[in-house]
Symmetry: C2
Subunit: 355 residues, 2 copies
Amino acid sequence: MEMNIALLPGDGIGPEVIAQAVKVVEAIGQKFGHQISFREGVVGAAAIDATGDPYPDSTHEIAASSDAILFGAIGDPKYDNDPKAKVRPEQGLLRMRQKLGLFANVRPTFTFPSLIHKSPLKLDRVEGVDFVFFRELTGGIYFGEPRGRNEQGTKAFDTNVYSKEEITRLARMGFEAAQKRRKLLTCVDKANVLATSRLWRETVQELAPEYPDVKVEYEFVDAVAMRLIQWPKAYDVLITENLFGDILTDEASVISGSMGLMPSASLGSAVKLFEPIHGSYPQAGGKDIANPLATVLSAAMMFEYAFDLKEEAELISHVVNESLAEGVVTEDIADGGKAYKTSEVGDWLAARILA
Amino acid sequence: MEMNIALLPGDGIGPEVIAQAVKVVEAIGQKFGHQISFREGVVGAAAIDATGDPYPDSTHEIAASSDAILFGAIGDPKYDNDPKAKVRPEQGLLRMRQKLGLFANVRPTFTFPSLIHKSPLKLDRVEGVDFVFFRELTGGIYFGEPRGRNEQGTKAFDTNVYSKEEITRLARMGFEAAQKRRKLLTCVDKANVLATSRLWRETVQELAPEYPDVKVEYEFVDAVAMRLIQWPKAYDVLITENLFGDILTDEASVISGSMGLMPSASLGSAVKLFEPIHGSYPQAGGKDIANPLATVLSAAMMFEYAFDLKEEAELISHVVNESLAEGVVTEDIADGGKAYKTSEVGDWLAARILA
Ligand SMILES: CC(C)[C@H](C(=O)O)[C@@H](O)C(=O)O
Ligand SMILES: CC(C)[C@H](C(=O)O)[C@@H](O)C(=O)O
């Protein structure tokens, strides 16, 4: 197969972890006889520094004309504490999501037996946890208008807005995923307060009869924030709006004890994007110590979701599990054993694929 | 002292737990020579059933003309899954908060040594946790206009709005609380996306120099959702907007393993309200099994925050700790020991106060 992959490494540790995913993807290409070409674009703080724009047109052209995107991470503290900054790295991310139509962020949470002891939760709560969030990614209060200040600057406002269509396309993805899993869908909203949430709940209620094999539960976002910690095993597929999803998927990411390994996919109408859920960790950037496994597993998701190549995806997961079993890991999960460099882990995985 | 206390028991287990708080408050009154009178009002589903209005004027008059309010819980599942319901119990709660000007919800999280083993978190994460949220309660997306649907009903919208004044008065409470505690204030926002959050951050930054002894940290809501579980000990005082506070305080409530004991206060310009953080648990209503301790400890907060009577507050906390130590507790925390009835726990606490 021919594959055109856009690389958007971004900021902090982004470039280093993307470089390891590239090694792995190239090894897969070699092994399975795929023709894989890469093109790279700047995004985030790196793009502001280079072009003044966190998502320049040149990057969009590369991304939009690719078959899939591998994304690193963005964000730089120098832009965080200046509320009046005119350009921020995050604007690039948001513009990218919207221009590429990436309306669904898919975030699985599952456990790695060898890392589960790192979970802040007790073993009986976290063993066997396996759920996936479908977060709406191009609507809601992230993009709604009007937003801004009054003339004197003493009042600020944002608008949360959702259409039935936006909810429907995201919800259908959730229903379909539930059908392939344990057939439980949880619609997370705040229908006791928000008009948008009532439209979410109503829309999901209307769709439910089309998926008679899926049990649908409706739960308020505050209750989910609790139950995710109390009984994370209770969940299978969760669907929710953009802001709730931002908060809850990050909360969920600490459950398994293996945040450095959690991949994600952003799906939409055309191109699909894959990225680790962790941030840009600027403090660790350039030191060759960052854990590349989440990005490598995001590349595995890419083979499965973007190219329907399950065997390739499974081989990547398999060698990642081998690296864990054999202790070829970075310092964050080395647990007193030898700490490998980011680049060494990448080399090892690529070599193992070709072995 | 003379005290006029409004009782708003609400729904589900509300009436039962309030009844125990009344026993305790009366015992305190007798012991310390206070003249305490109670007036009761309906609120929530109970009020809809009785009057068609979840917060009738008669209840508001009682609440507004009292020195303090003891509130139970509201919510009934029969109103939850009907997104088109015209009247909902929660509307009563929201109207009450706004009409009484209860703009700050104060939610402490702390641990009880005898219950800490019930936490879903590992002991080393939760031991010694002691933080308090100040959640803005009468602004933001809960009340902003416009909110509703377009004509065809295919699009819904809500408005998040904050003024500098609303932020300032809440933030000052947080700063002052931090000064009396460990002097760390965390401003929780989403300033990388929301205009309202940027006003929050800017306003807090402007106030900070007035409190030079307080260290201020700014953290995104998604990061706090993670760190609350990873390292809850990192926090001291957190301030945040209404919706973020709703989600994060509920998340925080599961940390200590003693949710059935967590009290809260809602403060404002005039009257102050005290309530347990747990819900109305309709399934348990009327069975005399609900844990009354959170409501009893809310009454303790009332003596301290509404009447500045520290000794009274401490005596209540003291007898609650005795009931825990001696196992005079309801089935949810009986742990295989004898399970006392709700009413028995209340009787025991009142008798102990007078002993
Ligand atoms: C960086 C930020 C704008 C972004 C978001 O809020 O969506 C991030 O938190 C995420 O979840 O991808
Ligand atoms: C019942 C609901 C409207 C309410 C809220 O969202 O404020 C509740 O969750 C709370 O936190 O007191």
